[in-house]
Subunit: 605 residues, 2 copies
């Protein structure tokens, strides 16, 4: 990573310069258990100090320094030690990550970077405190929280802006409630094209962001393995550095023979649960219709409540299983670990959220009900999320702060705390578990908007409202509620791009189907339903083809960036070439201008 | 190109060593008009001699040397000259390709590389002369004819092998003429999966070929512009070399505002022609049925003959138009020029060949007729192609050789000719116009096999037979019939990959539709045709999804090659890093181990 940073320095010679004061405030805190053996502490500190002897890279943002410290801790692997000094029971073997070990054994409680009060104040004032119409300060966010979080907020913003047109076009449908399906068709068509364009252009935008941050051409093959990655110590074939190695075929087998079947099984189960729910729903409805009493009317709510609870439980269990499996797949890179985990959880969540909607739309063919459930889902999820994930914890955190301040004799909460108190305060804050849930939220939102857009045009508007508040609540929670997260370098939003694209493909199918089922359409083909279906199918295929052509035609990286990248490559090739030239000189046998002699111009044939 | 060669030398340190004798036989011949002005000749020779002063690269195959000479001639651009010396009328302006100019003005008749008798004898004996069951000597072909031709033959071979299983599975259907559609379904399913896998694995295979030939990671941005490329002299933003520049936006406009509409128009026209043909067909048929006489039975053939002629004419005209347009689009790279041209011609040919089959299959729904026309198309095209493109010209060439030999007093044709005679002989040979037509042939063949595979399983077998002979006839024509072509470096089969993949996607749709229309299928859903269609549509979507997942899961480049490539990149990055390290050293402010001091371990919080 350090290495890449430098070589990318070659790409664009501007580095973010380091704030002067940071060298004197600690970046990262490592909380050990209270009764930790002294010997262990001294050993650990000395071992960590050793790792600091590496080639200099001092042009880093605070976030990057913290990332490096974290990285050095993660890649701190046991060498000679057979056990943790002072803890003969806790064995170590070569190549085993030390920090992981002592953390799992409860010696190490947690590691977390410290907030930087000044920086934070500056950032939050620019970001969310005074409501103004302006873009988020992505560069500052990146500087404080790292690339991957900045990319999340960038995507959130881009997504919101992209949905504004949909919302505007969608509004009149709601206001004058146009039930006219020709109009819906227009709206759907617009949506499909728009979502494709939006996703493609986002790729370009994120590429330019990543380039300006110097993370665009990070080479995965050069990355150090993730701490969880285990295997016999070997040599990385690319970098020639010593690190654990694990055969990729084994991994493939684990993925395709265990993980994939497991996921499919889970999907099947959740489908069964849904079917049970719907049958229960029908049963209760039947009961209520027979002799409607107060109790039966109460009973009406029971199935959906149970279903919601069951879904929640299933989600949690599945999440654990997925994490376990992905960990067991033993991916070398953090990124690929994340991608595989994301994909697993994603598929399951997708099914749980949309299966019922699909059932309502295509089995029951009840558009009114579909609209209702869409609206309820959108609004409730919106309110719940915002409240549960940001405002409630924010309020709790505020109270805790107050308490700490009172304990330390300070009255006003914005007074500077003594260092130790500050550390304690932040140590108690809850930990941010990564961007996954935030992306998932957006993903589902995108689903609600695009999948049934031609039935419920208002969705886009609600989504926009949601996102606008989302920006603020997320900013708030990042700055005030959670421990400062370790920054993660990232070049793109990874598997989420794929997820959103697949969603937009599915959207084509669903929208075509919905329009095909609409009474107006049916009325166009009164005599033969077959013909209608054929027409719809053709239209759908045309759309899909169009989508793929569009995605193929729009280049993923803006031209000016392609050129810049090509130049780096050219330069480095040149640099290498010089090296090679020397090495091959000895083999030179034939004078250069022989090529000239090997060429004749003959006039009169 | 030279540059890349060297820097790729870094990738794999083995260069193809140059045969000792070649330095003393001329590689390339440049035929000037007989009455060429002496002054011009001397000027030209001197100018060419100048270009030979470049950094040495002497580890090249003969083909590569010829390519370089050709390349140097092509990139020979006018500097000060206002006109060709001795021809005041023929103006030159800076950046204008000299060779192109004098060629268009008829001073330069042709440029062609010479065959190397020994090499050729060795190659042909290994390749086609004695029929043996073995793979083609791709490395030798590449060594003699260059990468792109070797890749063509590689693909031809791979394609043939890939179709053998289809052929084997298809045979029983023909032998025991199974009319049972369940079996057809099986066959179709196998075909779809198979074609996907075959295309994906080909990518991997070609990648390893290209890697072993050192062309895999040729950077387009480093390539010199193609001779036809014109524009004001400027600086290439990547390499910093002086060359003509042309705004890409202009090119985009030309493509999307002129070329694309033109192509669409042509497609529409050819569709109209087809409809006219079918109506004429029907008319004649009607006439014949009214009072069948000898004349009406003759009349039956008239429409198809006219149609064939018209198609042929349209093809030729369109081909010229396409070439003109693509030239006018003014692409910087030969490769992108080729891709755009190919794409244009491809689409048109596809329509002309398959539109009628589609009409028969889905409008007339006459499977018997479909089978007939498929068989006729396959067999006739096979025989015609082989004969017209290889054996006939081979025979003519043989006669010409005889004549030359007789003239030069030699009796037996395998005696060595004096050099000038040899040159004259080869100068008279016809020129090979590139792999386009050969690929097109394969592409159409693939279409016949895959699009209607479930109706005519024998197609695969015929295709295999065709390809086996094709290998020999193509080898023959390359070695004996044509002037030796200039070698083209190439990393893959370019736009043809895309073409074959799209074809296999279309094949999914057509096969599903065909099976859906089959009487057996209809009999499964006697009551509602709607249900049948829905089922078919679902199945089709599942297939398409499966195809894309498969293509996504199979990596395009084999792992061991990925690693090797990563290593080059790593090495060159390292090389660059060293350079950068110096440049940034001055900015160093903070001692390295500061990072260590910025880290605290605190026990009792």
């Amino acid at each position: 990573m350090l290495f890449n940073k430098i070589s990318l320095g070659g790409a664009d010679m501007k580095f973010p310069s380091i704030p002067d004061k940071t060298p004197f405030t600690p970046l990262v805190v490592m909380e050990l258990a209270e009764d930790t053996n002294e010997e262990a502490v001294t050993w650990l500190t000395s071992r960590i100090k050793d790792t600091q002897q590496r080639d200099g890279d001092n042009f880093l943002s605070m976030a990057e320094c913290q990332f490096i410290v974290k990285h050095e801790l993660d890649t701190l692997r046991a060498r000679g030690e057979t056990h943790v000094p002072g803890y003969p029971k806790i064995r170590l073997y070569p190549g085993k990550s030390v920090v992981r070990r002592i953390q799992s054994k409860g010696i190490l409680v947690q590691i977390f970077p410290l907030h930087d009060k000044e920086e934070l104040k500056r950032l939050s004032s620019m970001w969310y405190q005074n409501v103004q119409l302006s873009f988020q300060p992505l560069d500052d966010i990146r500087h404080y929280f790292g690339e991957s979080l900045a990319l999340y907020f960038g995507f959130l913003e881009y997504f919101t802006l992209a949905m504004v047109p949909m919302a505007l076009i969608g509004m009149p449908y709601y206001l004058f409630d146009w039930e006219d399906y020709d109009k819906y068709v227009l709206f759907a068509v617009f949506n499909l094209v728009w979502s494709t364009v939006f996703l493609e252009t986002w790729k370009r935008f994120s590429a330019s962001l990543a380039y300006s941050w110097g993370t665009l051409s990070r080479k995965k093959a050069f990355e150090e393995p993730r701490p969880g990655f285990h295997g016999v110590l070997g040599i990385n074939p690319v970098t020639g550095r010593q690190e654990p190695v694990y055969s990729s075929t084994k991994r493939q087998l684990r993925i395709y023979l265990v993980s994939v079947p497991f996921v499919l099984l889970c999907l099947y189960l959740s489908l069964c649960v849904m079917m049970v729910y719907f049958s229960a729903e029908g049963l209760v409805l039947g009961l209520h219709d027979e002799e409607p009493t107060f109790w039966t009317s109460l009973l009406l709510y029971v199935p959906s409540i149970i279903y919601a609870v069951v879904i929640e439980i299933m989600n949690r269990i599945y999440r654990y299983a997925a994490e376990f499996l992905t960990d067991w797949e033993n991916h070398r890179l953090e990124s690929s670990y994340q991608n595989h985990l994301t994909l697993k959880v994603l598929v399951f969540n997708f099914l749980n959220c949309f299966a019922s909607l699909f059932y309502i739309a295509f089995m029951m063919q009840d558009m009114q009900l579909l609209r209702q459930s869409l609206a309820t889902l959108l609004i409730t999820s919106q309110i719940l999320n915002q409240f549960v994930e940001a405002f409630l914890p924010f309020w709790l955190q505020k109270r805790r702060n107050k308490r700490v301040h009172r304990r330390s004799g300070k009255v006003s909460p914005d007074q500077e705390l003594p260092f130790d108190q500050q550390v304690m305060l932040e140590a108690d804050m809850s930990t941010y578990l990564g961007t996954f849930d935030d992306y998932l939220e957006l993903f589902l939102l995108f689903g609600y908007v695009s999948l049934f857009s031609c039935v419920y045009p208002l969705a886009a508007l609600l989504a926009v409202l949601n996102n606008v508040t989302e920006v603020y609540s997320d900013a708030l929670k990042m700055c005030r509620v959670f421990k400062r997260p370790f920054s993660e370098p990232g070049a793109d939003i990874g598997v989420w791009q794929l997820a959103f694209e697949s969603m937009s493909v599915i959207a084509v199918v669903t929208n075509c189907a919905l329009i095909g089922m609409s009474p107006q359409m049916k009325s166009y083909f009164p005599d033969s339903e077959t013909q209608l279906i054929l027409v719809v199918a053709t239209v759908e295929h045309v759309f899909l083809a169009f989508k793929f052509i569009l995605a193929f035609v729009i280049p993923d990286v803006p031209r000016h960036i392609q050129i810049k990248l090509a130049r780096v490559e050219f330069e480095s090739m040149e640099a290498l070439k010089k090296k090679v030239m020397y090495t091959v000189e000895s083999v030179n046998t034939e004078p250069v201008d022989k090529v000239a002699t090997r060429f004749t111009v003959c006039t009169q044939l």
